[in-house]
Symmetry: C2
DNA sequence: CATGAAAGCAAGCAATTACTTGCAACCAAC
DNA sequence: GTTGGTTGCAAGTAATTGCTTGCTTTCATG
């Protein structure tokens, strides 16, 4: 068994899955897309389920989440960079993600690997926003937990729904910055802590949302 | 042909679709769920496609969007009520909506009816938030368009993703208020216009997000 | 060249699925 | 009771699908 063929099949399976979903990804379709003989799929992976399971796990859901700094600097810039990577992944894989979401009832075992990315992102973001509050750079009343959920939710919804109504949403290139800025405004973000705020009084009027 | 049987079948089809999606909704499954003979489905609807198409259109996607007042009063209360209705619909139909989303590539004709609800909600919310800005009750820098997108996005993502990670999101009962309040904070909402703001200086510290 | 592993090819199986057909049963209305 | 409309029942068709099997071909290695 050669690694190129195995990867080739996994890549092809993920592509077919994105368009056709679980049932619609016939072994014939996958074999054609991978440019191999159908029987090869069974020789290597044993069953269609095993093949597709591994394909979407390794090609869609398993990934590294970008790090956020332990000590926040320019939060608007840092979070926008971070959100851009997150959003890019969601946008790139939106078809597969939509297919995976539709399988939640019939294949609950998919739940864990599907939730891995969102959980990781959520945790990092929440920690970062909590630090902002602790540093006196966001309102003490703010809930980093809720704000993190809202930002990630908005990014997710945008990526999943954009194909449905592209004209009704902010331009894709602007999306990360738009939602990051709204989120930071929502938690009363300021570039400097309260003690230093009097000297930088105009900071908030310079950024529009 | 009797109307009860027709409706019975449509209801059953929608239920089966929510769990099994398009392909997985076999005519046998639907007939069993509707407690009718399989041939009846074809007598009444002609094909499985036509049946499912009508079922999800009429049982999931076609709906009335709650109105928002032309002149905003207590925006936190009004938007929370409104968002609660919106969220409830999304939560109730989340399985069907997820299935529908997964079909976007293979059945692009679904796009329009799927987008109808979100578009309507988006428009109403945007108009309402624009009025807030015009009344001097939100920041002139705010973009009602972006804020509307974020609020609706967050509600959507929450409803669609809750099954995947129920513990990582705000409690469902609190969701509408949480995201409405964050959104209003993001656009610099105040209960009264700028001219009257000095007399109600404590308004913002009373509500936590 | 010989060998073994990997993959291709062709045929086929059993199960499933949307759908059809002919007859029978049921029910409401006259 | 008769009639017409609606639905059920049973059997079946053609197509599709995951998967298997036996033989052949290809390729890398010694």
């Amino acid at each position: 068994m050669t690694a190129p063929t195995r990867d080739q099949i996994l890549d092809a399976a993920a592509r077919v899955f994105a368009e056709h979903g679980f049932r619609g990804s016939t072994t014939r379709l996958i074999a054609d897309a991978a440019d191999v003989n159908e029987v090869t799929l069974f020789r290597i992976f044993g069953s269609k389920d095993a093949l597709l399971g591994e394909a979407i796990r390794t090609r869609v859901y398993e990934r590294d989440i970008l790090q956020l700094p332990d000590t926040p600097g320019d939060a608007r810039a840092e979070l926008t960079t971070w959100a851009t990577a997150e959003y890019q992944h969601l946008l790139t894989h939106r078809r597969s993600i939509r297919q995976g979401m539709s399988e939640l009832v019939e294949r609950p075992e998919l739940c864990r690997c599907m939730a891995q990315g969102p959980r990781g992102g959520y945790t990092r973001l929440r920690v970062y926003l909590t630090r902002l509050v602790e540093m006196g750079r966001a309102s003490k009343d703010a809930s980093p937990l809720n704000a993190a959920a809202m930002l990630l939710g908005a990014l997710f919804a945008d990526a999943m729904g954009r194909d449905m109504m592209p004209d009704a949403l902010p331009p894709a290139k602007q999306v990360p910055a738009v939602y990051v800025n709204l989120t930071l405004d929502a938690i009363g973000y300021v570039a400097k802590p309260a003690a230093a705020r009097r000297k930088a009084a105009g900071t908030r009027v310079k950024r529009g949302a």
